[in-house]
Symmetry: C2
Subunit: 167 residues, 2 copies
């Protein structure tokens, strides 16, 4: 997308652009998760990140399916938002001295990633329905449900254990 | 925070660092909102952004109150996450040719901002409670409730009107 062009002319264009944005984001997340798995100390948190990596790989396949259903070749566009969220996660993780405090920081960073995905999938589903693509909305809904479930699991893990160990 | 120092040694340090992060973020949001108000066409959306600007200014005051309650001087630290989210909003807005499609894009961008705030305030409240600072948690909860209400209002506006006009 160029700063001086106006490439998005319709809601359909905006839908495809946002699909490309989240496709790039999911791919960046698969690159960031192995470091988070490595840095996490709590076994349940480590396992949670591992499970989410497998889930993310499946979510990428679902996005490829939606691109194809909608007549487009899967491709990504730069997504400064996810780049910023991941950069911040790495910076904070690099500043934490204690392993249990690091777990709390990693968990919070993962929830920031989840919330970015939740907002984008929520928007994509609303736009797909508006465009008469309930079939695409239904595939995207499966991912949104997974992201919300992951966020809730992370909250439960933080409140039941990780924050207590960090304090 | 330096990349080679380990300045965060406790959950309390992490709490203060994240307060500084969201303090910077809220200040950046007050700088970004006037452009969004100017660019929005739908009067209800424009008014929604205007209301949120006033709310954000009040949320900054609440953060200053929490800093003081916790014995710290209010200050911000760079937050690459919010910088990325705002950069992406500006880039997409610059690429949209049609005013009604632009409204849909601006609304989605505002929801990405809301979700960033929701995840950070949710984390801060959990940490404040863990640190025995229910007084700080209670002030932060007022903001979290506002952010969630704003997000729901935006969803309702998107689904009842803005997306239809854009399609």
């Amino acid at each position: 997308m160029g700063l001086f062009s106006k490439d998005i002319k319709s809601l359909d264009d905006l839908f495809v652009h946002t699909l490309q944005d989240i496709y790039y984001a999911e791919n960046q997340i698969t690159k960031a998760l192995p470091t988070m798995i490595e840095k996490a100390t709590d076994p349940q948190l480590k396992q949670g990140f591992q499970t989410h990596l497998a889930e993310t790989q499946n979510q990428i396949k679902r996005l490829e399916q939606v691109f194809q259903m909608h007549g487009h070749t899967p491709k990504g566009v730069d997504c400064p938002a996810i780049d910023g969220i991941i950069k911040e996660a790495n910076e904070v993780a690099g500043d934490v001295a204690d392993k249990e405090v690091l777990d709390a920081a990693l968990l919070a960073a993962a929830q920031a990633v989840e919330h970015y995905e939740i907002t984008r999938y929520g928007t994509l589903i609303a736009w797909a329905k508006q465009l008469g693509r309930n079939d695409c909305a239904s595939v995207l809904q499966q991912t949104l449900d997974e992201e919300k479930a992951t966020d809730q699991k992370l909250t439960a893990m933080a409140e039941s254990k990780v924050n207590q160990k960090a304090a």
